[in-house]
């Protein structure tokens, strides 16, 4: 009960600070919209006869949401380093507040920072022909909220471990590219040779992208979706547990 109350306090604080600087919404929206505007047209001519815009969006937008989940969670490490340097983390660690709540406040904020632009992207794409299947998309967003939580807790903990922006940035950005390429966001991995598809299986984002295409078609129950939840739910538990440990031990 206390943990819940504290988590809400931290969440509220992060949310207020986020709302005060609405730039994040703009930058959150920019990447997916640029992909839709400047990359998705390339997909049209991949097949013969060429795909319609609506077909392309149906295939591309769901995966794009995974990318958005990743980038929404990734910033957590930067915030943590900033708070380390201004002494906020240390001050909180001397208080009796639970370490889990301290971490969760930021994670929940990142989930909101994922959901708002996601819903906007879905809305905007729907004007251009993207087919909205509400229940499928709702389950997809739920799955991706968990992915955001994983990335956010992971990035935040890396921030506590590295303590300075330079090392964090080099680790996070060098992991970002292979994770993106191996997720099948840009092009489906069904096009990939066997060895590439085999490696992709260690990437959690691969499973969410696989599930996203099926869920966006409105199919609720499928092997892809069940596999994705079977991978993401335990991973969320493990990463949150690990991140709490890092918060408990962290020495500023």
């Amino acid at each position: 009960m206390r943990i819940l109350k504290e988590t809400l306090l931290f969440f509220k604080r992060k949310l207020i600070e986020t709302i005060r600087q609405p730039v994040w919404l703009f930058s959150g929206l920019m990447t997916p919209l640029l992909y839709i505007a400047l990359f998705s047209p390339l997909l049209k001519n991949l097949s013969d006869p060429p795909l319609t815009t609506a077909d392309v969006l149906d295939n591309f937008v769901p995966g794009l949401l995974t990318l958005l989940a990743f980038s929404s969670g990734m910033g957590a490490g930067w915030t943590v380093i900033w708070e380390l340097q201004s002494g906020v983390i240390e001050r909180l660690r001397v208080s009796p507040a639970s370490r889990f709540s301290i971490m969760m406040g930021g994670v929940l904020k990142d989930i909101v920072a994922f959901l708002v632009p996601s819903i906007l992207v879905i809305l905007i794409s729907s004007f251009f022909g993207f087919h909205v299947h509400l229940s499928g998309l709702a389950i997809l967003l739920l799955l991706l909220c968990l992915l955001t939580a994983i990335i956010s807790a992971w990035s935040g903990s890396l921030g506590l471990i590295f303590k300075e922006i330079g090392s964090l940035a080099s680790v996070v950005t060098s992991i970002q590219l292979p994770l993106t390429l191996l997720s099948g966001v840009l092009l489906p991995l069904s096009l990939a040779p066997d060895w590439l598809r085999a490696i992709a299986h260690v990437n959690p984002m691969y499973y969410t992208v696989e599930a996203s295409r099926v869920l966006a078609e409105g199919v609720i129950s499928s092997t892809e979706t069940i596999t994705a939840f079977a991978v993401i739910v335990p991973l969320t538990v493990v990463v949150l547990w690990w991140a709490t440990r890092v918060y408990r031990k962290a020495v500023a």
Binding site: S86, L92, V251
Partner: protein, 273 residues
Amino acid sequence: MAMTNVIEVSDLKKSFRGSKNKTVEAVRGVSLFVKQGEIFGFLGPNGAGKTTCQRMLTTLLPIDSGTAAIAGYDVKKKPNEVRKHIGYVSQLGGADLPATGRENLMLTGKLYGMKHDDVVKKISELSQLFELDELLDRIVRTYSGGQKRRLEIALGIIHEPEILFMDEPTTGLDPQNRANLWTHIRKLKENGMTIFLTTHYLEEADELADRLAIMDYGKIVAEGTPLELKRQVSEEEVARRVKREIQTNATLDDFFMKMTGRTLRDTGKEDVK
């Protein structure tokens, strides 16, 4: 003595793994006590181990060996109880910069389990004590150094802790703000709070501390009231200079030089003047 010891530390030790896997003994057996209601000055050059000591006492760093009891609770066994009874104002400050002063105080009060109305009442009390009235609804990032410090001390005591730890509270402040902060710290003592004050400014310790300890190379090299320590130096000085009949006015600087062979300011990161 009617006074009880709110801090009791015995043979505290801490080592770190340094470069080339060499063990660095940062704290090599520190014992000290702090009586209820006093200001205890904790001095030493940078790198002497005083911050490491303080971090162990405030539950931020695990203790290697030895014991520490704060407000009657064992720091090793009951860190969460200790946390409820202490306040901590670190050198970094720790106010949340993108939030307002009021939001900072509100959140902190609630984290310590205070009720909304009690926090509101406490905020108005603290804002009077620390002259924060006009600042409360401004974003902390816009505060001056002195204003931010005052807010941070308010954050450290909003839950009315028994003991307040302060790490170099006046570092980086101009002389006026320093004097002003000293007045505030004295007021806290008058209200009955015990204060553990880490500093490398000798005049600060002289000005505020009831008793003090000087730490060097991981050990306490001297302990007593400022007057006792100064007298010790003067007596030796007098004995040495008696033939020339020179009266001396020893300062804590003299005592510090005698004990550590170096001045605090030589090693200080941020020198004043």
